[in-house]
Symmetry: C2
Subunit: 587 residues, 2 copies
């Protein structure tokens, strides 16, 4: 495999041999290491000094089930930290089959480009036919131009306007821009380089080499069976998608409502996964749909409007929560339209839902006003009015513009869909992950709420730091394989699942990894990310939640009651090699 | 003397005995120490956890010349650092004469207040007659209500709207709101506590106790003579005000022009101190005017419009530079109107001039468009439109909203009127001071350009770190005395001046300070401020200039070429007590 380095300033590109130290890295491990090695941590994230790295995971492009995740890394304009944001869709598998281990975009062009990536290199294509357009139109124009089978990665007007909430859309199998590297404003970084889209054309690609085909096949099939046998991976996700969590979190009192005032929403039933399922079926949509070939969990869906016309897809729990409970909007069609706006304008739904809640807190529109909300997206954000530019910069920025102090962010990134006072393990992750508030970085909801991989009482502080630490390590490793994070449900419950992942890696690369090596990889990734952040100006003071989480959250009336020292203890044993080895000995 | 602690949440106030460790502190030393001792560095600056401290200097209220400076301290909503912002006007002397060593505002009220401060305590007065009004109207209404002799401290609409560029206005002897604690958004902190104004009524005040009156009188008179004998303090400032620097910096190639693109402005002559002097005289204004009783340098002035009507006063070099050269506006009347808007709306002129330059960079209005600029202030900022709310949050915020990367800030505070590539010593101060970019924190322009206190070549890096270090230490001490920083010109050139300051302090308090004690006080203040900042989340990565200062600046085509290590070396010897003592031994 090769690195494909693209210099936008000089419009040049070249394939490079993969340095030995990158050979065993993929996905997040590779994007984070390249960014640490090549980017000045104090650089302006929108300046020529920042880089944007796209890397398929180690298993992407193979027949490993659900292994088509794409990692996108750079310095985040939202958080100022290192960032790995990952997405499904078809691009990762195509890149891997073309033998591209990572695309590295550097510098910045003077005029807008579409980059056509083939097995032979890069073509810089004039972008004037797609500039200013939303992701749906961009995808249609580019597929007409370059062929239906082409994988499209693109930004909408939000990325062009360098909004810190801008995402990078990755088209799904039907060419819809519904899978996003959403978090951290990576769309603004792509926009700053003047790249509107990448065309991933894998015609004539050699495919991924598998050293030991039989062993790989056996491991992949076993792993696939384990996924299908697990109640969450094999039943819950394919049936209801992630939206199944609305009722679960509401019941648990951890569904943040009215800008994180309470943990229960009166209108939860109207926006639940079960309601969504019935609505989709009644309107001829698809409750179950895969975002990339070979996914067995198929958590996506196609949501039609009340006339039976396609409205949106990839409609997630976090999106429904963000615009729904968090903004007190109990109208599922309105939430679906807001999701569609985010996909089309190219915005992170979590950041924007929390931003909308803060805008409501500021009195720009009242809580529950779904028509006002749609107008803010369709008129202000789409057209880049001053108000749209405020909102597009995210929750912290919006709160600051209006003097609001109730802003649910960590490291300037919006806190997602699980109240940290009622699901304390995930609160620990929000506070400490190098990514800024991010549930996927250490999804303690598993043991706190779903009772997957054991049980840790969500309302107590005991055991949460350890839980979050172990999940953050495991996640950093999983994010490097290209496997969808949702495989973790099976991995946490089924002792034979992780060995199968190791077997697949060993069979593919002809190596001899152990389970410990995987853990060590996860720790290394976290250390690299923390090292970048420290050099970028972060210290323990940033690993904290906003002070309003000291207020009690109904219905449990709990607070986020960890001391700073307890939170700081999360990374202490990982950061020191010596301590890390000692800790590994204890596990 | 007493501390007067005002709890806005419960509308209670009480006089408190001054703790022994605060006895020798005043001004900046006292505000910074109280903030370090009492405020959680990770708090939201606009939340109830922040405090706002007003402290007259150690010599304020006495007959020491030019000793009426007021320090205002808190955690800054602009920078996130500790902040001491200081201002002239009459309030400091009145507070000192009332025996108030510091006013400490804590918590936050639910409704707007005017605080009437007398020797007997605090009265919470309904503010409905002044809410929403500009500082000029507020001053008029409150003086009509409380008497012409009353000292008024107030915020304009910017502070009410919690804009990060909001200042706190301190009325001068004529009751005009033209002296401001400008930097760092302290007006937003006062606004967050729902205090629109403070009335400082010193009727029946006992005055400042002087232990040794004869010695004090002798020292004060000698010091006064030295000020009057110095060419800058006794001639330059009283004649032309600070605006004399326009031609000086333009000549030196250090007058930042067009958002810091070059160091010379074609239109400099039209906005120079000399032109201002002629204009003022031709229109019947006052070229020379003191901001508080007993100032011998009288650098203020009264600037009338072309009909001979009062337009503005306290019209500084930095203001004229910020809206003038920096925005390529060569119309002095337009700049005066922008200054008036800032005074009335309650905004820092440096932050807003740099913000306007960034807005021009973003293409909101063209460079040089003074009519467009006036409209942005009169319509957008005054009315709090979304665009006004962006601009009112300062330069970094505005740049971010529009995806601009050429943003001249350090720690999110706008870089002032001296290009750091052509006046490298002050660039070192911008990078390293705990305050965010602030020329007054270590005014190396003295030795770099004015050849006061020696000469250090402004275009070379040699000696700049030491120069800035020594000035930062001295400034922290001067800011604690209540003396105007401009006494530094005489102090740097006249070896007998600083001993007279020490004599005044010793005579007033009946103590035995040495010159070394004054230096040690300065170092202590810097250490306290750095300690707060570290706990607030700052590290060396924040002590850097934006990357575009690596571009060459005409006419000298120099860059800001210090290494990070060189900059970090500034505080290293101060931060360690041992090293500090060693360094003191060498001096």
């Amino acid at each position: 495999m090769k690195l494909l380095r693209i210099d936008l300033t000089n419009k040049k590109a070249e394939f490079q041999v993969v340095p030995q130290e990158y050979a065993a890295l993929g996905g997040r491990a590779l994007t984070s290491k390249i960014i640490l090695d090549e980017v000045d941590p104090t650089c302006n994230p929108l300046g020529k000094g920042n880089k944007l790295v796209f890397a398929p995971g180690l298993l992407s492009g193979t027949t490993a089930p659900s292994s088509g995740r794409l990692s996108v890394g750079g310095k985040s304009p939202l958080t100022g930290t290192i960032k790995e944001s990952n997405a499904g869709g078809v691009a990762a598998q195509k890149l891997a089959r073309m033998g591209i281990k990572a695309l590295i975009l550097e510098g910045a062009a003077d005029d807008w480009n579409v980059l056509k990536i083939t097995k032979d290199g890069v073509e810089f294509v004039d972008a004037s036919d797609v500039i200013g357009k939303g992701n749906y139109a961009v995808g249609e124009i580019l597929r007409n131009k370059f062929g239906e089978k082409t994988g499209v990665i693109s930004i909408g007007p939000a990325g062009e306007n360098k909004m810190s909430a801008a995402s990078i859309a990755v088209a799904d199998m039907e060419g819809r821009p519904v899978r996003h590297a959403g978090r951290g404003g990576m769309g603004a970084v792509l926009g700053s380089k003047k790249v509107k889209a990448l065309i991933i054309n894998d015609e004539g690609a050699p495919g991924v080499e598998i050293k030991n085909k039989e062993a790989f096949k056996e491991a992949a099939q076993s792993f696939s069976k384990m996924l299908l046998a697990h109640p969450v991976c094999g039943q819950g996700l394919p049936t209801y998608g992630t939206a199944v969590l609305i009722n679960v979190l509401n019941e648990a009192g951890g569904l943040p409502t009215e800008n994180f005032r309470t943990g229960r929403f009166d209108g939860a039933d109207k926006i639940s996964g079960e309601t969504m399922y019935d609505t989709i079926n009644a309107r001829g949509g698809k409750p179950t749909h895969a975002c990339h070939p070979g996914c067995v969990m198929r958590c996506s869906q196609v949501y039609n409007d009340d006339k039976g016309e396609y409205l949106t897809a990839g409609f997630e729990y976090e999106t429904i929560w963000a615009f729904g409970a968090n903004c007190k909007i109990d109208n599922l069609d309105a939430v679906a339209k807001l999701d569609r706006y985010c996909d089309d304008l190219g915005l992170d739904t979590i950041e924007m839902g929390v931003t909308l809640g803060v805008a409501m807190e500021a009195g720009i529109i009242p809580f529950g006003d779904h028509e006002g909300a749609l107008k803010l997206f369709g008129e202000d954000i789409a057209n880049g009015t001053p108000l749209g530019r405020i909102l597009g910069q995210g929750a912290e920025f919006t709160g600051k513009a209006y003097g609001v102090t109730r802003i649910p962010t960590v490291k300037r990134q919006a806190i997602p869909a699980y109240d940290p006072r009622a699901v304390k393990g995930v609160g620990v992750t929000y506070a400490t992950t190098p990514m800024g508030a991010d549930h996927t970085a250490g999804y303690s909801v598993t043991a706190n709420i779903l009772k997957v991989g054991g049980y840790v009482d969500p309302l107590k502080i005991d055991g949460q730091v350890e839980l979050s630490r172990n999940l953050q390590i495991a996640t950093a490793a999983v994010d490097s394989t290209g496997l969808c994070l949702f495989v973790a449900f099976a991995v946490l419950d089924e002792p034979e699942a992780l060995p199968k992942v190791v077997d697949m890696l060993n069979a593919q690369y002809g190596i001899n990894l152990t389970l410990d090596d995987v853990t060590e990889l996860g720790k290394s990734v976290l250390r690299w990310e923390r090292e970048f952040n420290k050099k970028a100006g972060f210290n323990n003071a940033h690993d904290r939640l906003p002070e309003f989480f000291q207020e009690e959250c109904p219905p449990h009336n709990t607070t986020f009651d960890f001391t700073g020292e307890e939170l700081d203890n999360l990374f202490a044993p990982i950061e020191s090699e010596v301590l890390a080895e000692a800790a590994a000995g204890k596990e």
